[in-house]
Symmetry: C2
Subunit: 234 residues, 2 copies
């Protein structure tokens, strides 16, 4: 069998699906950033923009998935090349869902704006978690581009921090709503936004796990962190 | 190129990954049913059983995914066969996540049990949605087994009903918590369980969409329902 890496068309196809994944990732990252800005500034217009662009994210998913299947059918990649294409095909689902979460943040922001009792809400904690999630998403895409397993393991580990922040926030929100039941409606919106942020972190983690799978050939999705780090640095 | 369908080993491999998907589906369905029973009867022991078996679901995901990649590398399927393997590889992610939601229902049930204010909660609505979600999950696996696109389109359509039930429930829960702030903590647990049920319906919908993709070759994930039905029945 000839070394398929010698085929320049094959390489071009592989680079093309990876390039599209990163392009889609850039769009999703910008959707999440915009949604968080809409929430922080309670800006309805910005929220509308996020909702308008969701379709673009969906279109990317379909285009890239079809390119992946075609690449497999035509080029019959094996080993690491095949793992790369399979990982791209799955990572785009994570990106699409992260895009859905941006949409959710935008919708809930608009709902908060319609709620008259919401003028004094404290958005600081969610904004901070949002920054962490956006940074994780960016780094998960960076390590995918460079197939850097060390950074991938860091992303997986740091996602835990977002999860912890989320749990702490829920506890705080519960007592906040109990103290002043008029805040329950806006509290539920904020809970939904905080949950969306937590899920965006999960998607970044999933993308980082795929990087380790591509390079090392090991599926680390359900491994304890020590084992995952060992695998990533082996 | 020889007709790969004449290769009995190829067929055996395809049947094997599909069989494993259905086996995994059976396990997840039983996890969801058990979790909903634990919630309906506030049964801590049953909830523990669900949590104990989550690992089995995860193991299935890894085994099947690896079988899919190996099948592609060895047998180089194309057209419908390739779509089938790609769809199995993605559908198991949906199943694994539905399993995660069962775990979440079990955990929240235990949290409700620890909450002293929770003895008079009304679980009827969530139980009903839970029945609908379990039925959708079962039917999505049935139509996968028989590659029945007509039933697949029905599953996609019926998922909308679960989504509507969820929204109605959230509205009701909001006023319920506002009337009696002591119920906020248990209310948030119930919200989380209702959300898990709604997501299980989404996963069933995703699996049904893959059936249409396998048979018709069209990615219907973001199509409006009329177009999807047309595609399924074409």
């Amino acid at each position: 069998m000839p070394d398929k890496h010698l085929s320049s068309q094959f390489d071009a196809d592989l680079n093309s699906v990876c390039g599209k994944l990163l392009e889609m990732g850039g769009l999703v990252e910008s959707q999440v950033s915009m949604a968080m800005r809409a929430f922080a500034q309670l800006d309805a217009e910005l929220a509308d923009q996020v909702m308008d662009r969701e379709r673009e994210v969906n279109d990317f998913e379909i285009t890239i998935d079809s390119a992946c299947t075609e690449l497999i059918a035509r080029r019959q990649p094996t080993a690491r090349d095949l793992r790369l294409v399979m990982a791209v095909s799955k990572a785009i689902t994570n990106l699409e869902r992260a895009g859905d979460e941006a949409d959710r943040i935008a919708r809930r922001t608009k709902h908060i704006l319609e709620d008259s009792a919401s003028h004094s809400i404290n958005t600081a904690e969610i904004r901070l978690s949002g920054q962490m999630a956006i940074s994780l998403l960016r780094r998960s895409l960076d390590c995918f581009a460079r197939l850097d397993t060390k950074v991938a393991a860091e992303v997986v580990n740091e996602d835990k921090q977002i999860d912890e922040e989320f749990r702490a926030f829920v506890r705080k929100l519960t007592s906040y709503m109990a103290e002043d039941p008029r805040t329950i409606s806006v509290g539920l919106d904020m809970l939904s936004i905080a949950k969306a942020v937590e899920r965006i972190g999960d998607h970044a983690k999933n993308i980082a796990e795929f990087v380790i799978y591509i390079v090392k050939g090991t599926d680390v999705r359900h491994l304890p962190h020590e084992q995952l780090t060992q695998e990533a640095n082996s």
